[in-house]
């Protein structure tokens, strides 16, 4: 099965930019990012900027739920949903 390169890019970003130095080893798609304390206030802003720039979408206030950002998988599901809705609005 071929893994979506965008998903790989997202995982790499979270590993390199958000989780670095936090003692987190291999990051799976389903790991709980909140439980692992991967995201602080600036980290979440970085992630939103990353998603908006790389996937040409606009993350709205309504998207900012714990469930949407709990894991790489849920973040990617949000991205896919936003892209299907027509991207940047």
């Amino acid at each position: 099965m071929q893994v979506d390169p965008k998903l790989i890019k997202l995982i790499e970003f979270i590993k390199k930019d958000l989780a670095r130095g936090k003692g987190i080893g291999d990051l799976s798609e389903t790991d709980d990012l909140v439980e692992a304390e991967v995201m602080d206030s600036l980290g979440i802003m970085k992630l939103i900027l990353f998603l908006e720039e790389n996937f040409s979408i606009k993350i709205s206030d309504d998207d900012l739920t714990l469930e949407n950002f709990r894991s790489v998988q849920t973040i990617y599901s949000l991205v896919e949903k936003k892209v299907k809705e027509g991207g940047r609005k």
């Binding site: 206030s41 979440i44 802003m45 206030d61 714990l66």
Partner: protein, 383 residues
């Protein structure tokens, strides 16, 4: 294609605000600074001029200007007005208006926007705590559900407009120790007179003395459910949005002050003579002047980009930090150089530059210290 030309309306507005400020706002500034008094009469004059209504929608009695035009107006105000404390109070009010405009319910907008824009009601936003300055997430002010609303407990410090505010925007955290999005911070509108909410005495400061700052205390203060601003747990995002608008408007005011300080310094070095010639002919003096001009022009470009991004509905997290850092440090440097250029006269209160210097120190502290701006920029670069 880029166009840096101001529209006719923007140019006219700029000049009318400068004229108004010089005519109405510059009397007895030294005395008010000395006594630490808020110039309420001037506040109302600014309201009549429309300066509190710049960003308010028309249906609530406002001018509904975009952020770029509003920033230009604040730049003009700060250029004309020598009371930086008053300008700071106005920017605080504008930031509160923006939060209600962006996140308020229709009822909240109806209740507050008109009165805030007319100056009848003064607002404050309270984030900073004794142990939570730059590290906002460590705030200890707690919110707990309480029947038909919420209870707030904790304290805030250094709150601009605090002693005068009829309404305060309060950021508070729920009990969850571990959660996404900044520890589940929520935001509330709290009216003066709310049981359990009290305000400390105005704090004595090094500068910005006409601006009133105080502590706020919440002792199980009950806030009805319909006074939550935005959604539960969205406080961190509201804060991030607020801080971008604030950094744009503060940067605009710093640039206005820099322009005034530059103009005063140029005038001085062209008339002050030592050893038979104008002191501006000495490179050690003219280099200082040149540096102020360089920073002023670069700062304006950064300001206009920041404001333009926000007007496009885009995020300006990096740009707001870059602009705020550069311009606030430039202002401090410009004020220090201006005092030096004016020599003994610059050191005297009568010259007004020592007040600008004292006021400028705060610019590199509030709205995120310079050290924090460096951290944000580094983090956003992936460092």
């Amino acid at each position: 294609m880029m166009d840096f030309t101001l529209t006719d309306t923007q140019q006219l507005q700029w000049q009318s605000i400068v004229d108004f400020s010089r005519r109405e706002l510059n009397a007895e500034v030294r005395e008010a600074d000395r006594d630490g008094t808020f110039p309420r009469e001037k506040w109302h004059k600014c309201a009549q001029m429309g300066l509190l209504a710049l960003l308010t929608p028309e249906e609530h009695g406002g001018l509904n200007e975009n952020l770029l035009s509003s920033a230009l107006s604040i730049e003009a105000l700060s250029y004309g007005c020598q009371d930086s404390g008053l300008v700071h109070a106005i920017i605080t009010q504008l930031c509160c208006i923006v939060l209600v405009k962006l996140y308020g319910s229709p009822e909240q907008k109806e209740r507050y926007l008109g009165r805030l824009s007319s100056g009848e009601l003064i607002a404050a936003q309270s984030i900073t705590e004794p142990d939570a300055g730059s590290d906002v997430l460590s705030m200890r002010t707690k919110v707990a559900e309480n029947g038909a609303g919420y209870s707030l407990s904790g304290g805030k410090v250094f709150i601009s407009n605090g002693p005068l505010a009829g309404m305060v925007i309060v950021f508070a955290k729920n009990g969850a120790e571990k959660s996404a999005f900044g520890g589940d911070i929520s935001c509330f509108l709290v009216d003066k007179g709310t049981a359990g909410f009290s305000v400390g005495n105005p704090l004595a400061k090094m500068g910005l003395r006409t601006l009133q700052n105080s502590e706020l205390f919440f002792d199980d203060a009950f806030v009805p459910a319909d006074m939550m601003l935005g959604k539960s747990g969205h406080g961190m995002f509201i804060f991030n949005e607020a801080i971008e608008w604030e950094r744009v408007l503060m940067t605009a005011s710093h640039l206005g002050t820099m322009e005034r300080v530059l103009e005063k310094s140029v005038d001085y070095v062209k008339t002050r003579k030592q050893f038979g010639r104008e002191i501006g002919k000495n490179q050690s003096v003219s280099n200082k002047i040149g540096n102020i001009k360089v920073n002023l022009e670069l700062g304006k470009l950064m300001l206009y980009k920041m404001a333009w991004l926000k007007d496009q509905g885009k995020r300006a997290t990096l740009e707001a930090s870059v602009g705020k850092l550069f311009v606030s440090e430039s202002l401090k440097s410009a004020c220090l150089d201006a005092v030096q250029i004016h020599g003994g006269y610059g050191y005297m209160q009568e010259c007004n530059l020592e007040r600008d210097l004292r006021d400028s120190i705060a610019a590199t502290i509030y709205s995120g210290t310079s050290e924090i701006q460096h951290n944000i920029i580094a983090r956003l670069l992936g460092l």
